[in-house]
């Protein structure tokens, strides 16, 4: 059974949801969640870009003879790297949020605007 373009729709939906959170949510933590959502959407897109219907896992030693379709390994490597980077950025953003709460006493982005003009 083919899954068609459904994952791409989900990826687009995730990205739009994340942008919605970044644009309209006021809580810093929710904005971080928004960024994570966008990242998940992009990752899903990458994995889908390398997917082949009926393809098998790209493991060199398990390749059957004759070679059948394999899922492309490069996008998976990309996704993995992007997940690692996402982990680091999320951790950094959250620690900034902790310190902002300590200094400003709020997590409302509309009130954290000393740097303007």
């Amino acid at each position: 059974m083919s899954i068609g373009n459904f994952p791409f729709v989900v990826a687009a939906l995730l990205i739009v949801l994340g942008l919605y959170a970044l644009l309209f949510k006021r809580n810093l933590i929710k904005m971080v969640i928004g960024i994570s959502l966008i990242e998940t959407g992009v990752n899903l897109f990458l994995v889908m870009a390398g997917y082949r219907t009926g393809g098998m896992a790209p493991i060199y030693t398990l390749a059957p003879t004759p070679i059948r379709d394999m899922v492309l390994p490069t996008p998976q490597a990309l996704t993995l790297t992007s997940i690692v980077i996402g982990l680091a950025t999320t951790a950094l953003l959250l620690s900034f949020a902790v310190f902002i709460h300590r200094h400003y006493g709020t997590l409302d982005i509309q009130e954290i605007k000393e740097l303007n003009g």
Partner: protein
């Protein structure tokens, strides 16, 4: 060797510097021809503003940063009101600019393409 040619004009900093020094020497020469009987500590160095003498103790006056160019900034008040209002300092607005610029870029690239 050290100059720049733009195909339209030329720029040679060494020549410019030599010229600048030459003019400086001339200026100093002219200055040296001036009156030597101009003396400090006499009435000749008193400061007048619109005919009123400025008191000496205001020699310690320092025009602070924002007072400079207030006239010009005041003249551009309408511009500054708008542009400074754009720099809200709110992250959501920055993201909105980014998304808006992306959308505009798509439209331009696809239309022009």
């Amino acid at each position: 060797m050290n100059g720049l040619q733009s195909g339209f004009g030329a720029w040679n900093p060494i020549a410019w510097t030599l010229l600048f020094l030459g003019v400086l020497v001339i200026a100093l020469l002219v200055r040296s021809r001036g009156r030597r009987d101009y003396k400090r500590g006499t009435g000749q160095t008193r400061v007048f503003l619109s005919g009123n003498e400025e008191p000496e103790e205001r020699g310690g006056l320092h025009v602070r940063g924002d007072n400079l160019y207030w006239g010009m900034i005041d003249g551009l008040a309408a511009y500054y009101r708008r542009v400074r209002a754009l720099h809200t300092g709110v992250l959501s607005d920055y993201v909105a600019w980014l998304v808006g610029a992306l959308a505009l870029m798509f439209v331009i690239l696809v239309l022009v393409g």
